[in-house]
Symmetry: C2
Subunit: 401 residues, 2 copies
């Protein structure tokens, strides 16, 4: 074991010589001391990928450039991007038709696999970085679900003073997007550092954040064979509704009681919020509007509701069994309805959120509509969403603190 141990101990910093010919620097999202990917002061990204015998290697930024990489004499392939928006950009590399991750990158769970991503810093923005402020802890918890019949885990952020105070705290349930999992809001989103910094600034109430896995199937449920069935056809929708329903039941019947039993929460609707990104926003609207007895703060980050499931346009008078039909009563009952979208998101996403915003506005339903300038359907949008959303929570309601 000694040779292996030593090689590892050294290789992480020594196997790569320093590059001093430009201001490209290793990305903060790299593993240990990996030299690539790199980012320069113009937010350009350089990738280097070893594939000595490959015929064709392509770079695939999921919300960005897709291009051929250039073969170098040393067996590596390289690519330099155009200037990119700030934030964490998922990507994969396609090696002779095999879509794979880059060993130089930390692996982030996205696209239903452990994918690569590169962090492009945002000038002047440090709200999601670790700073010299009190830090909360993130806990992984395990619970057995009577809904799914399986052990499930969740991540829980506890505010910095949780262990030293005797206070009880409000809770935000915060969901990842489609193809991601319960690790996303910490690893990609930096939700813990965002909350540490917001709480330290005094703008945001200390709160607990629970991040659950957004996928569930009821015990014994067998997914029917959908081969040959049309995408978004009735059979497809039925399976999706089944799984969304299992998630809703797991959250409301198992997870919330488990959290309220395990942590010092304030276990009432005035002190319980839910938000989610993309698919998590769909889940948020389904769970919260079906359980307004449990939630009074609602956030949809680049995803809100799922009107295609009912096949109808969003109508504030009838949506969610008429919960918003009386806007004044709704505003008293729901302390915050918040939706957000990045201005560079694909048109179908932007228009979906904008039409919801317009419908709410025309219907006189009080809400916040936030647009993240210059960002796509990516994590920088959702970090900004959380930064705008969290300070609005639990301010108007009495606290036991």
């Amino acid at each position: 074991m000694r040779t292996i141990g030593i090689a590892m101990l050294l290789c992480v910093s020594l196997c790569f010589a320093q590059d001093s010919t430009s201001n490209f620097k290793p990305a903060s999202s790299n593993v240990l001391d990996a030299r690539f990917p790199q980012v320069d002061s113009n937010s350009r990204v350089q990738i280097r990928f070893k594939a000595p015998d490959a015929t064709k290697v392509k770079i695939n930024f999921w919300s960005g450039e897709k291009a051929d990489m250039q073969k170098q004499p040393d067996g590596f392939w390289s690519f330099t991007s155009k200037p990119m928006a700030p934030g964490l950009h998922y990507y994969t590399v396609v090696v002779d038709g095999a879509e794979v991750s880059d060993p130089g990158s930390t692996a982030y769970f996205g696209g239903s696999k452990w994918a690569s991503a590169v962090e492009v810093p945002e000038a002047g923005a440090d709200y999601y970085l670790p700073k010299d402020v009190p830090h909360g802890q993130v806990r992984q918890i395990w619970y057995h679900s009577t809904v799914t019949g399986t052990w499930r885990d969740a991540f829980v952020y506890l505010p910095p003073d949780y262990d030293t105070s005797k206070s009880r705290y409000p809770v935000l349930y915060l969901q990842h997007g489609g193809g991601e999992d319960e690790t996303g809001w910490i690893r990609q989103g930096k939700a813990n550092f965002i909350l540490d910094n917001l709480i330290a600034s005094g703008s945001t109430k200390p709160m607990i954040i629970v991040m659950a896995n957004g996928y569930a199937s009821r015990a014994g449920y067998v997914v029917p064979d959908l081969s040959g069935k049309p995408f978004l056809g009735p059979e497809f929708i039925k399976v999706m509704q089944e799984r969304m329903g299992a998630f809703e039941d797991d959250m409301t019947q198992v997870l919330i009681p488990f959290v309220d039993k395990t942590f010092r929460t304030i276990p009432d609707r005035d002190h319980r919020a839910m938000a989610g990104l993309s698919m998590g926003g769909m889940e948020t609207f389904q769970v919260t509007f079906n359980h307004l007895d449990l939630f009074s703060y609602i956030g949809g980050f680049s995803g809100a509701g799922n009107p295609f499931l009912t096949g109808t346009r969003f109508d504030v008078k009838t949506a969610y069994n008429g919960a918003m039909a009386d806007p004044s009563a709704f505003a008293k009952r729901v302390h915050l309805l918040w939706i957000g979208v990045g201005t560079k998101e694909p048109e179908r996403m932007k228009s979906g959120l904008e039409s919801l915003h317009t419908a709410l506005e025309e219907g006189g339903v009080k809400h916040v509509f936030y647009e993240s300038p210059g960002t796509d359907h990516e994590w920088q949008t959702w970090r900004r969403d959380l930064k705008d959303f969290a300070p609005r929570l639990f301010q108007s309601t009495a606290s036991s603190r």
Copy 2:
């Protein structure tokens, strides 16, 4: 966002038809509902990897078979292994010279990258699986190190009754191997489930486990250019000693005080243990023998000491400044000296541990030597090590509980 969200929500279970022609089943280490890798009742592993345009695809089990995969008409490449030992087996796939991870596998940090691995169940062994017993929590904590000048994180297992009792607990510092990181003992090792089960059985004292990152460099330290210098030559060793020393200082000067301040520990040497695997075993011997005022339980899992650093054979009379020169005094001071190795580990690893065992035995130094039957330099060895090691801790020393 809707199309993406829906596709993700479904694809994880629907994109793969069921395979009913054998008793191969998806591995528990797969992502979400990925169909491959699979394992059968004879502990054979099947891998399927998509690379439609590749010329050559090889499977690379790090402690096992390395072989060409077979191209299938559908653009996938397949491989079926011989029966494998139980446990978690790291592997990569080599696509036309590019060594990459398998998107069907959960990513585990090993070999200084996020690698693939497949879990082969061990018949009759459930000590590392989640069971219907009280579960401890795993917390991620962040601390600023005055040694490295950086923010560092660690994972901390708290026993099931930590939040509901007012007790103080002994602490085990438990280190990963070379090329791994602080996530290894939970994600690969299942240390939390092992402790949950041991504590529930009554055999093991409830304890806190701290899992730190085993790599450190002092603030301002610049790694010298080692190109052209011989592997394990004096320049090489010097860098390694520098980094090991930085790790030792970070642990003893920053992390231990931080842990004792943050958690309800019993902050004395009688209630503090350290163990580690492979490189972590080297670190354990360096840290504990240099700080016997801090530690009284010592474990080396497939790694113990680092005699090549001093260039001398292990001599119980002189090793570690003569700490073991008086075996009787040493046995009173150090409550447990424990070393372990898998019987199928490579010869150089086995012989290293065996010669240490022999030297200790001949020198009359009380210790435990554990051999894990049939397992290699892999996680099943280290899970078994922890299962044997943990119940021996903190039994002979008074507790404040």
